[in-house]
Each structure stands twice: as C-alpha cells, then as structure tokens.
Symmetry: C2
Subunit: 121 residues, 2 copies
Amino acid sequence: MSTDTLQPLPMATSIEEMQACCPDILGEAISEDEAIVAARVFKALGDPTRLRLLSMIAASEGQEACVCDLIEPVGLAQPTVSHHLKVLLEAGLVARERRGSWAYYRLRPEAVTAITRALGA
Amino acid sequence: MSTDTLQPLPMATSIEEMQACCPDILGEAISEDEAIVAARVFKALGDPTRLRLLSMIAASEGQEACVCDLIEPVGLAQPTVSHHLKVLLEAGLVARERRGSWAYYRLRPEAVTAITRALGA
DNA sequence: ATCCCGCATCGACTGTTGTCAATATCGACG
DNA sequence: CGTCGATATTGACAACAGTCGATGCGGGAT
C-alpha cells in the first residue's frame, strides 16, 4: 500500500462541498443535507474573532499572514488564534502553507465567490 | 410624551448596522465592533434549520410564507420554528407581517445584497 | 362571551463553542 | 543531538445555542 492511500484525502472543505451541492440557496428549497453543508461555511464566518482574522489576512500584502502577526492585533492567546484559523481552514475560507517555522494563512478568493454565488449574486 | 417615543425604535437589525459600518470586510482590516455586528448576520445563517427556512421562504411565491406552512416541511416543533424565524428577523434577513391570525415572513433581498457587498462582490 | 386556532414566550435541559493554561510537535540552527 | 522558537493539540471550564413541552396571547368564528 502506498503512502498516498494513508492520507490521500485532503479532507474536502465545507466550501468545496457547498460548491458541489448548493448552487443557489435562495433559488429553490434546499435539502437538509445541503443546509448542513452550507451552514458550516456561514458558521465559520459567524464569530467576530474569525471575521477579524479573515479581514486581517485579506488586508495583508499578498492576502496572507502568519500566525505570529495575527496574535497581537487580535488580542487573544495563541492557542485560541490557532483554533480559529483551523476552523477557517476546514471551512475552506483560507489555505495554510508552512514556510520554515512559520505557518502562513492565505485567503481563498474562490471561497468568497462560492458564497456569493450560493446567495444568488 | 407621544406613544411614539415609547416604542419608536424598530430595533435596528444586524443587517442595517452592517450596512452602516462594514462596507467591505475583505477590503481592509475591520474593527472589533464592526466584526461583532457582521458576525451576528453570518451567525444567523450558520444554522441548517435557519438556512432551510430562509430557502423555503425564498422559494415560496411572493418570497413569503406563514409559519404554519414551514413547520411540517422543516420537521421541528412549532416553538422551535418560531425561535429560528425570530433570529432571522432580528438579523434583518426576513420581515414579518401579521395578516389575520397568520404571521407571514418575507425575504429581504436588500439583506442579501448587503451581505454580498460586504464580501466585496 | 366563549371557544378555537395560529403564533410567541417561558423554563428547562442538553450539546456545542470560545477561551485559556499546559503540553506536545515540528522545524531550524548551533 | 539538543535547544529554542513557532504552531498545534489537549483538557477543562464557563457561556451560549438549539430543542421541546407547557403556557400565554390575540384574532376570528360560532
């Protein structure tokens, strides 16, 4: 068995599931499963700290920032910041890339367009 | 003192506050207060039941529906449905109108456009 | 007036979430 | 290889949110 089969699934993000299932939330009545998928994305946005983190990342040059740059401005403990970034990551709103000791989080513009599309924009 | 001063404020919805304060969440770093306001709107969307209710309302003719029409398809107790509709109402995503014994909830398209605008669409 | 029906509110319970301190992991650099 | 710095994970705790049964309220109809 190759090592690829051990961790082949990058764990589809909520955004990706939403793109695949919920083209238009307000266009027609969505199913219960579709609602669960889409709600995960909005729930990730439904916290002030996460919105600030996302906003700060988006406002940074290259639309990316490392954790160390986010802790002080957000005013919370490092584990708390890591926790929120993980929620944003699993939602598919940001991507993570390790460079050296640092972890850089980058905004995923496709995620934003997926949301606006789901809202019928 | 007129009776208007007793209940003059229709209690500004979260959407209205967001329109007034957060033109572009992803354009520049938003403040803590702005994040709190905007997070309330997304939190209202961050529940599967509320998303389904909103979707069903939007898919109804005239983009409105009364509570009695929503209870059975959503499969939850009537107080629970009323609770979720209240959350959507206070978020500014829907409007309520009483006609006879029935309460009709209507989608507020301005709210949807306000969200997509805040996301920089 | 009274009863009924649709909806809102209340009280209680349970599961989830945000937060932090402590600890583990992981990479870089001597 | 051992230490140090940056992140992630764990465990615990308080606060919050979703759900329901019971109850309250208000408008029609009899």
